[in-house]
């Protein structure tokens, strides 16, 4: 097989996988939230309601799609794709597993291991902002505009602490490549702890997690679409598949963030204390690493859901205050300490 064919297969596979995760996430979110609230959740479409996302999808596809008369047409149409495209594309640098040997060829389970690694994800996140702000603006409804403005301000505010948290990781591992970071996290540290970013950077992890929740627009940071004030925020005027793209993009974003968390702080595909490649064959090792990664990612995805149904949401100024007055100074201090520690240990 030519290289590009392998690449194509990888691209298609991971793309579909990413989407699948998002689709299943919508189901998990509904069922899990229901279970936490002593209800049952959708259980009529297919076994256990598993086909519920499909039904929703069909419904959204066959829904009339209205462009409000006061909206800016072109911008209105551009909004959802602008949001969804970066969201869908961010998976490209996530290392889903170590490597698999198929037909004598060693295949890295990652779409592309580029040397700028997660900076790519950050950059895409920055573009994703436009989808919200333009969508909200183009709808020309006050709720939407306010939602869009809030969304943008919130997203960009939390991008800084996220960047600071990532900076410490870069300081520690000296690379941007997610794969290399994961490789460096194998083994143990101080003799008994897994050599994970989480144990080396607990503060950085917390900052990163909080920022990730904000980036994913999840409670307690779901101000942009805060249902009780701004109806549904920036996508108030959107219906049909345009809305579908927004909702879906959010879930895909969550998947990405969970995956990044796993690879940066939780050793990616590796198991602590165990070296799977020792006793597994090349093929089964690839599959096993893939599943280890998936399980870790699933945990963080579930955490997203879990937290969402537990806590109330912030107010706007509190959210901003938390970002600028708590997280960023913390991040800077953390950076400073890390720099000092690294300096001392080399």
């Amino acid at each position: 097989m030519a290289d590009w064919q392998i690449d194509l297969i990888k691209v298609v596979f991971i793309w579909v996988w990413a989407l699948l995760i998002a689709v299943v996430m919508t189901w998990v979110e509904r069922r899990a939230s229901a279970m936490m609230q002593d209800r049952l959740g959708p259980n009529r479409a297919g076994p256990f309601g598993l086909l519920q996302p499909l039904a929703d999808g069909i419904k959204l596809f066959t829904k009339e799609d209205i462009i409000p008369e006061r909206a800016r047409k072109i911008l209105f149409i551009l909004g959802p794709p602008l949001f969804a495209l970066p969201a869908f594309s961010a998976y490209a640098v996530v290392p889903f597993g170590d490597k698999i040997v198929l037909g004598g060829k060693e295949i890295i389970l990652q779409v592309s291991d580029v040397n700028i690694g997660f900076l790519y994800v950050l950059a895409l996140g920055a573009i994703g902002v436009y989808g919200m702000v333009i969508g909200g603006w183009a709808s020309n409804s006050k709720y939407s505009i306010l939602g869009g403005l809030r969304a943008t301000a919130q997203l960009i505010s939390y991008e800084v602490p996220m960047g600071l948290a990532l900076l410490t990781i870069v300081l520690l591992y000296g690379t941007f490549s997610l794969r290399e970071i994961v490789l460096q996290q194998q083994g143990t540290f101080l003799g008994f702890l897994p050599n994970w970013g989480f144990f080396k950077q607990p503060l950085g992890f917390i900052i990163f997690m909080v920022a990730a929740y904000a980036e994913a627009n999840r409670v307690p940071f779901d101000l942009p679409e805060c249902e009780s004030e701004l109806v549904t925020g920036y996508h108030t005027e959107y219906g049909s598949m345009r809305l579908g793209l927004y909702l879906f993009g959010e879930y895909v974003n969550m998947g990405t963030l969970a995956a990044i968390t796993v690879s940066l702080f939780f050793g990616g595909w590796g198991l602590p204390y165990v070296d799977m490649s020792r006793f597994l064959g090349p093929v089964s090792y690839g599959i096993a690493s893939f599943f280890v990664f998936f399980l870790k990612q699933a945990f963080f995805l579930f955490l997203f859901v879990w937290v969402r149904w537990t806590v109330p949401r912030f107010r706007y100024d509190q959210l901003m205050g938390l970002g600028w007055k708590a997280l960023i100074p913390l991040g800077l201090i953390n950076l400073f300490i890390t720099a000092l520690l690294v300096q001392l240990t080399t």
Partner: protein
Amino acid sequence: MMSGFETIVMYLGMSFLVIVAMLGASSLLGPYRPAPGKATTFECGVPLLDPGHKRYSVKYYLVAVLFLVFDLETILIYPLAVQYRPLASLGWGIFFEVFVFVFVLLVGLLYAIKKGAVDWR
């Protein structure tokens, strides 16, 4: 072309195609029945009160400026950070470099906080 990036472009292209296909399918499959009042702006069920949008708070601008500056500064540190360990082995120079930089950042942040740029009231 750099190795690795073509697959990313492939991935991007695929996302693009699928999104276009989704929107296209949706507009094909969905009904289209315009009716009076259907396309009016939703304002909790009442007619629009005032036609345009007044100016929103300048606070948003300030947040964006803050973000711009901080984003830029963090990004400028990245090339140093990625090379931190090798440079650190050369001596304390790099540490002070980063320290001064972070310090400047901190000063900017404190100024912004003191000026109430991130207070919403």
